[in-house]
Amino acid sequence: MTGHLSISRRQLIVGGLMVTFACSARSRAATSEATSPSAIGGFVRISREGGISLVMPSVEMGQGIYTAEAALLAEELDVRLDQIVAIAAPPDASLYAQPLFKAQMTGGSTSIRGFWTPLRQAGAAARSMLVAAAAQAWGVHPDECFAKEGTIVHSSTGRVLTYGEVAESAATLPIPEDPKLKSPGDFRIIGKSQRRIDTPTKVNGSAVYGIDVAVDGMKTIGRRNRCAEDPGRNRRPAHRRRGRSRRRTLLGRPRRRRSTECRLGSGSEGKADHCVDPGRGREGGR
C-alpha cells in the first residue's frame, strides 16, 4: 500500500472494445460486477485504435479540474495532455467517490487533495501493465522498456509499440499492488502551466452541461416565469404574508419550499417533451 488513502484494490476491467484500468476502494467482488461489456469503470480507457480516454471523477465547473485531474493521470501514464480525451465519470460512487467525502461529489477545494494519490496510482498502474505487455510481446524484461507519449519503447533495439496495440494483452496481466509513482523532479506536466483541456469544447458549443443531457423518454419541467409576469401562484409579497411564512421571509430564514422563480422560459409548472409545452397549462388552466 502506498499513500495515506485507503486504496485496497486496483482493478482492471475489460469492457467492450475498451480496456479499462480502475483504481478504487471497492472490493474485488463488487468490481467484478462491472466487467460486463456494457459496464464502464476506472480512470483510464485505451481502445485498440489507441484512443486514450481519461475519466474525470470531479465535475468541471470552470475551476479547471479536468485539466488538473487529467494532468495527474497523464503524468503517470506518460501521455501528453493533447493525446487524451476527458470524459465525465458516470454515476458510480463505488468507483468515483471523492475519497475525502466518500461520496461522488465535487466541492470545497477538495478535488486535488482527494485524488492526488489515487489518480496518479491509476495512471502508474496502467502504464506499468502496458509496459509489461509490450515486454512480453518482445520477450524482454520490462526494465529494458520505457513508456513515452502513448508508446512503449525497447531501449536497446528501439522497437516501439503503441498503447492501443498492447492494451488488450495488458488487460490480462496482474495489477501491480504498488505501482511506482514518479518523483516530483521527473514531472513533465504536473506543476507546469498548461492549456485548459476543456476550452476547445466550450468555444465551439460542444461541451455538455447538465441542461444539455437528454435521456430517452425524458420529460421537461417548466416553471412559471414569476419574475416577468407575477409574484407566483399563491404567493404574496413578503410584507403582506402572515404568520410563519412572513417571519421566515422577513428574518431571511431559508424557505423550505423550492423557489418558484422561472428556470425554463415561458412554462408554468408541468411536464412535457420540450421546454415550451409546459406553458400550455398557463392559459388552459391546470
Binding site: 465547473m61 470552470g62 485548459r196 466550450k202 468555444v203 465551439n204 419574475c227 416577468a228 422561472c262 415550451v276
Partner: protein, 176 residues
Amino acid sequence: MSPPFPPFDDRAIAQKVGLAEDPARGALSLKINGRTYSVEAPDDMPLLWVLRDLLNLKGTKFGCGIAQCGACTVHVDGRPVRSCMLPAANVGSREVTTIEAIAQKESGRRIQAAWLELEVVQCGYCQSGQIMSAAALIARNPSPDDAEIDAAMAGNICRCATYARIRAAIKSVSRR
C-alpha cells in the same frame, strides 16, 4: 398586486430587432447553419427551444429566458439576436447561425481562435453567446475601439466575470 415588470411581449421584441412577421402556421421551415429544417413547433415557441429541444443544437444556452443575459445569442442574417425571446415563427426565411457553425464565418473563426489563445473561458456557459456577439461585432466592424466593444458586449453577462479577457480577445482580433 401589479407585476413587478410589465409583461413581456415577444412581438414587441421581435419588432425591435426587425423580425416582426406573421407567424406561419403548421410546419415551420427554418434555415439554420446552411441547412433547411422543417419542424412542428408551437406558434410561440422561442427559437432557442426549437434549436435545443427539437433540433438538438445544444451549444446555444438557456440563461434567463427574458433576453437579459445573452447566453442564447444566435445570428439571424448576421445580427446577434436573443433566441429565448424570438418566436421561431417570426424568423421566416432569414438565415440563422448558431455557435455550432460560427467557425464557417471568418469572423467567428478568428474570435474562437482568440478565445483559445487568451484562455478566456472558465465555466463556459455564457461563452457561446459571448462568441456570437463578438463575432457579429467583428463582422460588421473589423476594428472596434474599447467603447464599441463594450457597447456590443453589454448584453452578455458572465458569472465567472471573464469580461477583461473577453475584451482583450476581441481587441486581439481587431484590425486596428
